[in-house]
């Protein structure tokens, strides 16, 4: 599956565009109160689904990137801790990037990960403190907080600079991809990886589209996570 394109610098780049289509809701979001609350009969504020269309929510958490050791342009990103949430909860960065985790809540937070590409624990720190860490290996890094089990985020460390998140409508754009054959990967936290090969050529539309998850009989399903 590794079809790499050589001599990128000499070739004029082209954009890869496409659509992500989400079949149904993927993220489990608890919307009901615990049973004991009902038993007790007290008024509870129910956790609600995301304000947007659930499918929009899912689409916006689909990450697209190209496989292969291509040019990488490390950057510095920020993942805030606010209202007991990581914001954003999905972050895409090329390998070698540094992420800063500022705590904006009046309480302590803790940032840690047990994921293979980067295992770390930034420890507990109070409001207005921040800690940073650099992700050098590509992969999926799940980030959690020891103190708040409901807090969860994911950092997708891509092997190169061509990566993007789908927008609300599910549109995807990878700009300036040098012509050649590539494997385009779509990843969703719950659904997993979806791969497609594409030949990118200049002066024509390079369209790629994903249906997540696959049709029921599409067999491949959620493999290779």
């Amino acid at each position: 599956m590794f079809l790499s394109v050589v001599g990128l610098s000499t070739v004029r780049a082209a954009d890869v565009e496409g659509m992500v289509k989400i079949q149904h809701k993927l993220t489990k979001h608890r919307v009901t109160a615990p049973t004991s609350s009902y038993e007790r009969g007290a008024a509870v504020r129910l956790a609600s689904d995301h304000a947007d269309d659930p499918l929009t929510f899912e689409r916006m958490r689909v990450v697209i990137y190209l496989e292969g050791q291509l040019a990488s342009d490390p950057l510095t990103a920020t993942m805030e801790q606010k209202n007991r949430m990581f914001i954003p909860d999905t972050l895409v960065i090329p390998a070698g990037s540094t992420v800063s985790f500022p705590n904006l809540d009046p309480i302590f937070h803790n940032v840690f990960s047990l994921s293979k590409p980067k295992t770390f624990d930034l420890g507990n720190y109070p409001k207005d403190h921040t800690r940073t860490i650099t992700f050098s290996k590509p992969g999926i890094v799940y980030v959690d907080c020891h103190l708040h089990p409901n807090m969860a985020a994911v950092i997708v460390v891509t092997p190169n600079q061509w990566s993007a998140k789908a927008d609300a409508a599910g549109r995807i754009v990878l700009a300036g991809v040098p012509p050649g054959s590539y494997t385009v990967v779509a990843w969703h936290r719950a659904a997993g990886f979806f791969r497609q090969t594409i030949r990118v050529a200049e002066n024509r539309a390079n369209i790629v589209s994903f249906v997540i998850p696959l049709e029921e009989n599409g067999a491949m399903a959620v493999a290779q996570r």
Binding site: P34, S36, S37, E39, R40, A42, A43, V44, R84, P106, I107, F108, N110, N124, P126, K127, H146, L147, H148, P149, N150
Partner: protein, 565 residues
């Protein structure tokens, strides 16, 4: 008091007391049983509560162990232990606890360091989870903790990290009386904290319970009702806390007692009524023969007779015996009465004879006067009583002559004026002799007044006409007749005809003019019956014969019967 009344009282009163006493005892017994039953059911309730609660506690302890293994909580605890001075560290843990509280719906969560000093905690207060003021809270390892007006039941579990104990987690629930089906109260060192007994202030309950020992069952009086209080020992609330049930026995047993009271009232009144009827019947059956007996006696008292009672009239042995003995007594009295009468008559007769015997000329005088007087009295239809009075009175009429010297009485020849005056005293003397004897009272009139004349010229009082009693008037006439017809030493007696003539001449002056003709008739009849002695004065029946003819009963004063019986 009547015999029947006495019998009734003696049978009814003990019976009534016995009945009332036994009903009272039964009522008390039943009451006691009801109370015991209530007490044991209360104990059963306690046992079942205790069982439920111990099951709950077991579950809670498992749940608590799980809670102690909460990794997030451990992280929070470690954070707070690492940053003990920082408020936001506490805030972080409180935030965690709040979340656990919401999820598990407990009312009280607190973490303490291994020494038990509180670090952070939240508790439910008006449905809000508020942070605890940890400086002022010292929760027990296990038991009741009061915060504000609320009491929380707290259980603790250690939080271990590996082998090391890093703190203690205390979980509590609001203590809720509504779990108990019986009214209960919670006390701490004698102070009532909470009570589910409506309408009675806590202080009043506390003072009533003052006498109760900490962990024992006791009975208390509260507002006039008896309450039973049992400590709920199965639930441990910590040092000094006691949870007691407090239930009114009175109100619980009231319906049963009301039924009992009704039953006993009806049964008791019925039994009393039955006892009363039985007693009345009993007393009547005892009293009736006696009543009959008494009425018989009354009857005999009224008549003055002592009749024979029919011993067979009563079926009761004692009454028959009584009747028989009464009959025997009556017979004895009658016999005695007869003897007395005989003695009396004999006495009077002998007295009269003694008097007459002083002088052969006057021999038989008293007897004759008595016979004739009786005959006259009979002719004028005198009553038997008057007849008797006249008969005896006539026998005794000259008794006063005992006190007059023989020289005067037996003087041959005419009496001088002085001697005559002495003789004239004999009625008064006679009265004096007899008036000392009660039995002779009736005859005094004849003895004293048999010399009073019809026209008032007689002695000793000079009474006129009817003022002199009939008996005395009769005896006056017969005495004069017998005196005239008797021989005297100095003269012969007059013939019958001459004597009658003298009487007739003096009728209306000296003698009662109505009796003289009657006397005349009687003497004539007597003479006709005995022609052989026609020339002489008529000889009448002997005193004894005549006395026998008189009704025996009439001789004995009536009062005697009444007194003797």
């Amino acid at each position: 008091m009547r015999f029947a009344t006495r019998t009734f009282l003696w049978s009814f009163i003990p019976f009534a007391f016995l009945l009332l006493g036994s009903f009272w005892a039964i009522q008390k017994l039943v009451e006691h049983t009801v109370r015991d039953g209530l007490r044991s059911s209360l104990r059963q309730t306690h046992l079942s509560i205790a069982r439920v609660r111990s099951e709950n506690e077991l579950q809670n302890s498992r749940f608590l162990k799980m809670l102690g293994e909460n990794a997030t909580l451990k992280a929070g605890l470690k954070l707070i232990l690492a940053e003990p001075k920082r408020g936001d560290a506490r805030l972080t843990v409180e935030d965690q606890l709040r979340e656990i509280c919401e999820t598990l719906h407990v009312d009280f969560l607190l973490v303490s360091d291994p020494e038990g000093a509180p670090l952070a905690g939240v508790m439910r207060f008006d449905e809000q989870l508020v942070a605890m003021d940890i400086a002022r809270i010292r929760p027990p390892q296990r038991g009741l903790m009061t915060a504000g007006q609320r009491a929380y039941q707290v259980v603790s579990t250690p939080i271990d990290q590996g082998e090391e104990n890093i703190g203690i987690l205390s979980v509590g629930e609001l203590f809720d009386f509504s779990e108990f089906t019986t009214p209960a109260l919670l006390a701490h060192n004698g102070t009532i904290l909470k009570s589910s007994i409506p309408g009675i202030p806590l202080e009043e309950v506390a003072s009533a319970l003052k006498g109760c020992k900490e962990q024992s069952e006791c009975e208390v009086r509260l507002r006039g009702e008896t309450y039973i209080s049992l400590p709920l020992e199965s639930i441990y609330f910590g040092e000094g806390y006691v949870l007691r049930s407090l239930q009114s026995i009175d109100s619980a047993s009231r319906p049963v007692q009301a039924i009992l009271r009704n039953v006993f009232l009806i049964a008791g009144l019925g039994a009393l009524l039955a006892a009363m009827i039985l007693s009345v019947l009993c007393s009547r059956s005892i009293g009736k023969p006696i009543k009959v007996m008494v009425s018989d006696l009354r009857e005999s008292e009224k008549t003055g007779l002592l009749p024979e009672f029919h011993a067979t009239r009563s079926s009761i042995q004692e009454i028959r015996d009584l009747r028989e003995s009464f009959n025997r007594a009556g017979a004895a009295i009658r016999e005695a009465r007869k003897a007395l009468h005989r003695a009396y008559v004999e006495f009077v007769g002998s007295l009269a004879s003694a008097l007459d015997a002083r002088d052969r000329y006057t021999a038989g005088h008293s007897r004759r006067v008595s016979e004739f007087s009786c005959a006259i009295a009979h002719a004028v239809n005198a009553t038997s009583e008057e007849l008797d009075e006249i008969r005896i009175g006539a026998l005794l009429h000259d008794i006063g002559k005992i006190g007059i010297a023989d020289s005067v009485l037996q003087k041959p020849g005419r009496l001088t004026k002085e001697e005559y005056t002495i003789v004239q005293q004999h009625p008064t003397i006679g009265r004096r002799i007899l008036e000392g004897v009660h039995a002779f009272q009736r005859y005094l009139a004849i003895v004293e007044l048999h010399h009073e004349n019809w026209n008032g010229t007689g002695y000793p009082w000079g009474l006129r006409g009817d003022a002199t009693p009939l008996g005395a008037r009769i005896v006056h006439i017969v005495d004069a007749y017998d005196a005239m017809t008797s021989d005297r030493p100095y003269r012969r007696g007059m013939s019958h005809e001459d004597a009658i003539r003298v009487l007739q001449e003096n009728a209306g002056t000296q003698f009662d003019p109505e009796i003289v003709p009657i006397f005349e008739k009687i003497t004539n009849i007597a003479l006709e019956r005995r022609p052989a002695i026609s020339t002489s004065v008529p000889e009448l029946q002997s005193i004894h014969n005549l006395a026998d003819a008189v009704n025996e009963a009439e001789l004995v004063p009536k009062g005697l019967i009444a007194k003797d019986t």
